[in-house]
Assembly symmetry: C2
Homo-oligomer: 177 residues x 2
């Protein structure tokens, strides 16, 4: 079955952004030629699920190239209908139903690229199979948490860890079933 993965960076204290969606702490680990396995990971997926706010944020900050349009399906989870554009689909339906449908189809992996609302909705429905979490050596102190309160307990299996000279530690877990 196609697996759904979360590949994301957080501070040691568990935040993916500082207040006002400030992502500047990610600059601490920027290093020429080091993508922390991102390209290798995205080679294993052909479908991306992303929240509307994160989608717009990335479009503004990086541009549409990030979504590699035409190479993979991009589902933008939103409450507001918009016309689809190429392989980018604006999806207003139920998130769990979308994931269950995608999983029943043939294909490569499914990647949830955030934001935290979408990730937590997936976690509540026990739909995340794999976590690749890059822990950055900073306590940011406040902001948007990767993991919100009020989810079910889920046991994980540690697959491996990698450390980098930028102080980043990448933790790779699989959901225990």
């Amino acid at each position: 079955m196609r697996k759904l993965s979360v590949f994301i960076a957080m501070s040691l204290d568990g935040y993916i952004a500082q207040p006002n969606d400030d992502l500047s702490f990610l600059k601490l680990v920027e290093k020429e030629g080091e993508d922390y396995g991102y390209a290798e990971f995205t080679d294993t997926i052909d479908t991306l699920i992303i929240g509307r706010k994160t989608y717009d944020h990335v479009l503004n900050e990086i541009g549409s190239s990030h979504y590699d349009n035409g190479q993979r399906d991009v589902y933008v989870i939103t409450r507001t209908q918009r016309p689809n554009s190429g392989r980018t689909i604006f999806y207003t339906g139920n998130l769990a139903e979308l994931v269950q449908r995608l999983r029943s189809e043939n294909g490569k992996g499914i990647y949830c690229d955030g934001g935290s609302e979408i990730i937590n909705e997936l976690l509540k429905n026990d739909l995340v199979d794999e976590f690749i979490i890059s822990v950055i050596a900073i306590l940011v102190g406040d902001g948007k948490r990767l993991f919100k309160d009020g989810r079910p307990e889920q046991q994980l299996e540690l697959l491996n860890t990698k450390t980098f000279d930028t102080g980043l530690t990448q933790l790779h877990y699989r959901r225990k079933r």
Copy 2:
């Protein structure tokens, strides 16, 4: 200068206890003969700082042997005065002042054994020098967080990571000054 260390376990989603102070998820990593470096760590310290609630909880669950009374000074941070007992001191004063005084004295390391209120008060005052955090391979979903919102940003240096066959990953950081 004497350093102040936090040596603690948390779930991947950042909790040190599930609701109602349930610590049963720690049983996932219990293993005969494996203390995850605890004895080696406590050999480097001679002073313990602990919140009153955590102190009482440990007394009930493990007994006073955990505090190894007579071997080290134990400061129990409380709002209610109690008579001291051997090297156990019930401290009702200002926590930051206590740490600053201890640091100005000679001695081995200082260990904060929780709870999260005390740790976060130390973090707000930038008084933690070293973090040894054991990440347990579980999302517990809810409970008491190690890191609360509303602290200052603090950059860390990764010293090393260790993984164990129980799925525990131990992350060791030093506060960057």
